[in-house]
Every structure is written in C-alpha cells, then in structure tokens.
Symmetry: C2
Subunit: 218 residues, 2 copies
DNA sequence: TCTAATTTTTAGACAAGTCTAAAAATATTT
DNA sequence: AAATATTTTTAGACTTGTCTAAAAATTAGA
C-alpha cells in the first residue's frame, strides 16, 4: 500500500510525463506539487527504492511499469469520484477537483469497482478527460484544439485543456458546455479570435479560449 | 481544521463517554484505538490546548462543547457513508466499516450536505445506529435489548449492539435483519436462551445473541 | 492507613514528510 | 573551453504521531 504523499508524487509524474524519452525534472514536479525541489529529491529516492520510478541522480525520473499502473489507478479514482459528484450530488464541474483530490486516496478496490458500476462505467469525467479502465488503459478519442479548426469546419465540444475553476466558470457564463456542436464562422487574423456558432447563438471567443477547448470532428 | 488522528481520538472519546460525570480514562481510549497509553496522553494534551476536551492530568477526559460538535460531525459522516455504501453501492452491512473509517475524514461540508440529500436524509445507518443531524442532534427512538423482552412480547428489530463483521454475518446466516418483527415464544432459564418467532419462522437464539440485538416495542 | 498494584505521565527516540541553506552537478554563455 | 548561472542533491532541522522505558500519581488491599 502507498501513502497519499507517494500517490500524489506518482500522479504528478504521470501528468508531466509527456511521452518523450526524457525524464521529468525535479523542478517541474516541485512546481506542480507546490513544494520544494529538495522534498522532491527525497521522495524520488524513496520511490526509486520501491521500484515505482526509474531515477538517476540529476537525470530526471520516469514511471516504471508498476508506477504507471498505480498512477492510472489513482487517476481512475479521481475521475470516477468527479463524475459521481457532478452526476449524482449536483456539483458543478468547477467545484469537484479539491474533493476528488481527497477521495482518490481512499483504499478499497471494491469501492471503486462498485462506484464505476453505479455510474454506469463512464469513459470520461465531467471535464471530458478520459477515465482509465481497471487495467489502466485510456479510452482514446481524437480530439483537437478548437483553435485549429478552419472556417466552416465544425466539431463537438468534448473537453477542456485548462480545467481551473476560473476557466470553467467562464464557460458556464458563456453557455459553453461539453456535447455542444461548435462551428467556426470566422477567424480574425489580427488577434486570432474566432467567431463561432454554438447552440444557434453566435459568439466571439478569444484566441486563449480557443486554445483551451477540445472538439471532436464529426 | 483537524487531522485524521485528532478526529479519531475525538470520536473514540465520544463513543466511550457514557454520560456519567466521570471522564474517560486514558487506558480505555488506548484500548479502543489500539494504541499505547502514552500516545493517548500526548494527544489529550494537544486536544486540551485546542479546547476540544476538558482534561486534568490523571483525571480522565471529557469532550468540550466544541469537541462534541466535531465528534457528532465525524459520526454523521461515517454513518452517511455507510448508508451510501449499502443503499447505493450494494455493499452488505458487514463490509462497510473500514471504508467509512476512511471516508469520514474527507473535508467538505457541501459533500456531506449533498450526500445526505441524495440518500434522502436517512436517520439511521445500516446497523440501525442513529445519524446525527447537521447540528449534531441524534434522533432518539426507544430501543431495548431483545433479552429484556418477556415471553409473548414482541418488537421490531432496529439495531445491533455488536456491529462486528462476525456477528453481522451470523445474523445474515440466520436470516435476521433490521425491520423484522420478533416475538419471544419462550425463555429457557437454564442458559437464558430464547425461542423467538421471526418472519414466520421459529428460531432459538443464545443469550449472547439476545443481548446484542435491539428491538423497538410496538 | 500504609504498602503494593495499577494507571498515567514524562522523557527520549523514531519514521514520514517537509523545509532552509549549502554543496555538487549540469547547462549556458561568451 | 572557462566562467557563470541554473538545477539538483545533501545535510541538518522541524512537525506530527507513534513507541519504549522509567518516573509519578492514583487506587486498592491488607
């Protein structure tokens, strides 16, 4: 069994590991976890002894196979709990992260199995992020950044790149939600803003917004 | 905010505080929490500084008003989560304790409020134990130990005194469950065992069993 | 009531996880 | 390629919660 601290470090490495060969740097992890580099080094050495990460001094870390399994399991728990909070307890999508951060560390395999069944085995959480299955496999859908759509192209809004409360609340205010069809009406070259049609309304969104929304081509 | 350890000690004192004037002893708490008396003393001094307990060296402890509020809130969370596990996730009543021990420490007032609504504001958990309301008030029903019933008296089974897995599984095996009507057919003076009628079956139960079941008189 | 047994507290140590400050290694710049 | 800047690691300290062993207080017994 692993401590909450260990699980959190593993999750951070998992999130920062960008499939490139190179390991994740100590400072990156420290920033992500709001902690100090020296604390990270201590933990990396501990995780390395437990064979959860592959770590060479000064060379960054990567998750081992075992580490990846644990990371996927923690992410699975986190996203299932977020789904529970939104679908069953009437939370909005900008309120669930901190609570799921706590719930993800509850130890019980049966609890998570039953929760998944209760939620009807969701494949994506309320932010559109994929939920790993029991074996740690991610369901993959081809989603692209809204900003990359051409004029007259359209797609279904399926996720967010930035899942901060601020951004999610902004989307709520604009009436933008997952599942909606978005068509690009015009692109403004000057500031890269977009005019989009969504749910029969026309909306102008900034370049920044367009870079933080995912759509799935139809 | 309080640590899990602090909450656990407060909960233990709450459970052991038997309404008599006298404080709860260090050893009793140590036994309940499976820890050492010296650890208990350390924690009592800490809780005392935080004004959560009233503690005088060598004289035992009692919860302060603030301590009682916290205890009730932790118990409320525990019992609501047990109810969730049984009613929504298909757990049986002998499987939920350890998981609820973890879930009771999740920090979020809204989570508990919404959970209570989702469960339709239950007043009792799956073992028949009362769930404190938001203000820490316990719903009181007059329940008595089955063993105290006279021959020909009857009542509804509403709770258990011993909620260990072993006992609960025994009740399952015997087909005894909360909500069932129990009538005492006979009492055996030799060993204080009872013959009862329950759900149209006749059953002989030992003195020990009869002392661990609560019934409500009709 | 005075001694013996029991309970409780203190003192000091340990593990996990964090921090600061300093040292060591790596990366960058000229 | 040498000097400088940056990143990472080490060393030592601190907090929380635990333990063992010894001391102090209370309770029980003769």
């Amino acid at each position: 069994m692993f401590s909450q601290a260990e699980e959190n470090y593993i999750k951070a490495i998992y999130a920062l590991d960008t499939k490139t060969k190179k390991g994740v740097s100590t400072n990156l992890i420290a920033e992500k976890m709001q902690t100090k580099a020296s604390s990270v080094t201590d933990m990396l050495q501990k995780l390395s002894e437990k064979r959860l990460v592959i770590y060479k001094k000064y060379q960054g870390v990567q998750l081992s196979t075992k580490g990846k399994k644990i990371a996927a399991s923690v992410v699975r728990k986190h996203r299932l709990w977020e789904t529970f909070l939104v679908n069953k307890l009437n939370f909005s999508w900008d309120e669930v992260h901190d609570i799921a951060e706590q719930l993800e560390h509850i130890k019980s395999e049966k609890l998570i199995d039953e929760l998944a069944v209760f939620l009807e085995n969701p494949t994506h959480d309320p932010h559109g992020d994929p939920i790993p299955d029991k074996n740690g496999e991610l369901p993959s859908i081809e989603k692209i950044i809204l900003a990359t759509l051409q004029v007259n192209e359209s797609g279904i809004c399926v996720g967010v790149q930035d899942s901060s409360s601020k951004f999610l609340q902004f989307l709520d205010k604009q009436g933008i939600a997952l599942g909606q069809k978005i068509t690009v009406i015009a692109k403004e070259p000057f500031d890269d803003s977009l005019t989009i049609k969504i749910e029969n309304r026309e909306l102008s969104i900034s370049q920044k917004i367009a870079h933080n929304l995912y759509v799935q081509l139809k």
